[in-house]
Symmetry: C2
Subunit: 149 residues, 2 copies
């Protein structure tokens, strides 16, 4: 019996899965996992919260390396995940809830951000081509939130 | 003689044009022009700089109406415009240089932001489906910049 053709729902689940793996790589400071889910071309773009725009995989990879080296650990989760697909392009909107532990501090720095993540279908995979995250105003500080506990 | 098929370059120019018209509508506080270039569906999304995520055309239209009513005028331009197209989806990355004149002030409030704009092909047109803008850190204040003079 042949495998059925992938459906729109299969695509949505696959995109939601790579989006989830993006936040897992972030949480685990896993550079190899982060590398595996991006397109490695000179036109991909990334805006970390409060950073300037980065263009090209080399700059983006370097930024992740720096972020992972400068934190002693991170909790990261995505909520309100909305997936839309048009042909071979998918765009995801989500709220990121982050808690970052830096070397010099015992309490985490918390951030709630809004993200726009774009993925392109490459064969059977969906790979990240664009990440834009920016702080949500007046977000509840981590100590008052149950979300990451 | 028949018209030639539109080329990839035609598409890029058409997307750059609608992106340009977006900033012109902003600069001219032109709600009708803004309405004409968005898809009016309940899943379109918009993040104004420092705002929470808005979902659906009704919320987005209301936000533009408020922004236009609360300003006495605006200068808006996009620089570093990068256009990419995949099938019927286009994503634009650009730097927005904004100067907003509020009622109570004679000097403009300036902002430099990074934007991710998504457009979907609808027949012969490209229409906006997603706008995400966030402040660029340490941007030069408008008074020190020649950009809008």
């Amino acid at each position: 019996m042949e495998n059925p053709q992938p459906t729109a729902l299969d695509d949505e689940l696959a995109v939601a899965d790579v989006n989830e793996r993006f936040y897992r790589a972030l949480e685990e400071s896993d550079l190899a996992a982060m590398e595996a889910l991006w397109v490695h071309e000179d036109w991909v773009k990334c805006v970390h919260p409060g950073w300037e725009l980065l263009t090209g995989w080399d700059e983006i990879r370097e930024s992740w390396e720096g972020i992972f080296q400068n934190s002693r650990g991170m909790r990261a989760m995505a909520t309100d995940v909305s997936v839309r697909i048009e042909g071979d392009l998918a765009w995801v909107s989500c709220t990121e809830i982050l808690a970052i532990f830096y070397e010099e501090s015992t309490t985490p720095t918390s951030a709630v951000t809004t993200a726009t993540n774009l993925f392109r279908r490459e064969g059977d995979e969906w790979l990240m081509i664009h990440h834009h995250a920016s702080p949500v105003p007046n977000a509840i500080p981590i100590s008052e939130s149950e979300t990451l506990q």
